[in-house]
Symmetry: C2
Subunit: 384 residues, 2 copies
Amino acid sequence: MVKEINTSIVMDTIIRYHSISRARISEITGLNKGTVSSLVSELIIQHLVFETGAGESSGGRKPVMLQFNGDAGYVIGIDLGVNYVLTILTNLQGMIICEHQEDIIGLNSQEIIPLLVRSIGIISSQAPSSPYGIVGIGIGVPGMVNAEGTVLFAPNLGWTHVDLRAAIQLNYSEMPIFVDNEANMGAIGEKQYGLGKEVANLIYISVGVGIGAGIILRNEVFRGTGGYSGETGHMTIDANGRLCRCGNRGCWELYASEQALTDMGKSIQLDGTIGTLESYVASAEKGQGSVIEAFEKIGHYLGIGVANIMNIFNPDLIIIGNRLAKAERWLSRPLQETVDQRALPIQRQSAAVQFSSLSSHSTALGASFMAVSAFLQKSTSRSL
Amino acid sequence: MVKEINTSIVMDTIIRYHSISRARISEITGLNKGTVSSLVSELIIQHLVFETGAGESSGGRKPVMLQFNGDAGYVIGIDLGVNYVLTILTNLQGMIICEHQEDIIGLNSQEIIPLLVRSIGIISSQAPSSPYGIVGIGIGVPGMVNAEGTVLFAPNLGWTHVDLRAAIQLNYSEMPIFVDNEANMGAIGEKQYGLGKEVANLIYISVGVGIGAGIILRNEVFRGTGGYSGETGHMTIDANGRLCRCGNRGCWELYASEQALTDMGKSIQLDGTIGTLESYVASAEKGQGSVIEAFEKIGHYLGIGVANIMNIFNPDLIIIGNRLAKAERWLSRPLQETVDQRALPIQRQSAAVQFSSLSSHSTALGASFMAVSAFLQKSTSRSL
DNA sequence: TTTACTTAGTTTAGCCACTGTACAAACTAA
DNA sequence: TTAGTTTGTACAGTGGCTAAACTAAGTAAA
């Protein structure tokens, strides 16, 4: 049991420092040199770590540098969006090997699940050969997911109670499969591979048709008691505001989501195109004032909710992700201004607000990391 | 290190089960009988555990029952309120031995600190003799406190940057002293000794002059990056609402706190008394409709914020505490109705909203528990 | 070169705290 | 009584750690 913990510590240290000697690991972790040596040799036998040759001497014998073998295996990450499926293959370090995207507009769950299985098949076949092969699959879904991987409610997909994990498991019986909310996966993605690498507390705000949040506190996802935390889109920001389909009034997502944009757009004369987010972005880029104003209004309302979240959580970082992050150019300034006006001074001084750095891959990368994490945990524990 | 962990596990098991045999501990924890025996004998030497005699046989030798020695030492818990100081002495099980209260209306920090020291002295002298004596002091403060025990900002006391821990430490140099926000302490109190014993995620909402929240997630207080989490009072619930002194508009505490009551009270004809919370409660008890209406309005607005918190955290339990809990009778129904209307169905099904069960002792008890917790941790670890 | 000094990594002996097994003590029930 | 249970202790064995010695491989200055 102690060995398990120490193996994890050594593994994490190697991954974090990218290239490191046994002696440095011993220094950093406080573990004895002998202990480190023996643990490392087991990791090498497991193909999880390899020696890259001699490093720079600092006045004595040259160290043998160690690296994490990111290509010991591969994982699949899936971002099941409202109208697309993005499937990626990454190695254990989150390097994207290949990706595959398909539209799912108008499809129901009976049609989407086979499509997911097909996508997994296509992507799997492109994995380079490796000691462990494909070691897991992660899936981010735009809805509430329970601990068993059942999608309880995904309004924008029209799903209720779809046992997604079991459905995929039918085709890949031995494969570890992780299903979670798209915002949680996005938060994990940003924490591991994006802007959140150095912070312990971050909130990833997924602004798409609605708004959801992935909450990472003390370096771990906080899912709440039933797994339904982060329903920030239905936070009241206007007590006497418009009625939301959830039954509440003045929900944040009525004022600051893609749906809000569409509502505003009805009164905007577009240059002939349909009112998709992409068309609005295109119009804004052409300088259409009414569209830019709409974005700025949404940025302002985003700021109100972001300030609330800052006041409640006192996080290191708030990241705006998902579809509306594409309009960063017009959202950013009004958002920041509103936060500066509305959040408590001590909060806005210590917390940063940024837009996703992984473009549209946050969720898929987070999903793939779930699988990586589980694989490494299993690998370092079973080396008994 | 393993021993430390196991000692803690044994200790926790004894505390939880109140009266238990070595054999049962071994069963429950999975530790070997011999291991449990040796750890228990050390705890007995330390006076932390004692044998209470034979228990009921279940067909064989009678077990020797063990109990946690709650009277191995005592701790002091202080609730520094806006206009009172409540000091309590408890044993290690949170049993209140004696208490002492003083008014501090109109006093500044230079006057309050000596008063705190005096109160500690008065209470200390009443502690029964015990193996360890007074083992720690906890203080809950109505303001932001950093990790060093400095009160950064306590608007209702008029304090900025008062190094409270250091000031008390001057008089009790070797004593462990814990200073934290009053809402965090209240949350801890409810978690340990009140309504939250069985739950992992609870939010304690302290409704006094303003509103603050103590957040317990996965059985631990979440304090945020700088220690400033839980500033829920400044959550916007009305985007275009009234201006708050914090600079924001439509802050929750403008509509749902003692301050809100006072504001409303200006237009209420009271029966000759001044507008304190107590006088409003008295009027409501006499059946004065306008006061009851005011309470109901506050209950409604409390519900809006509570629904927000439910949607964001998906907790097991939300507890309403501090001064306004005294008006439970009139707040409760409108609060629950609003939550039922506004929180997502799945949230309100799984989370309960209750009023504090420890009457006005939540904060002081939480403060005392901080000291208990630190003492037990130290005791079980230094038995090397 | 040679020599002295560093630093890296392995080996070995010893130790700590756990587990498993055996056993004594103390009880119940037939 | 006698057989069978349950509790708690004793003791040997083991896993995994640390400390220290040692080998290996370098640098720097005489």
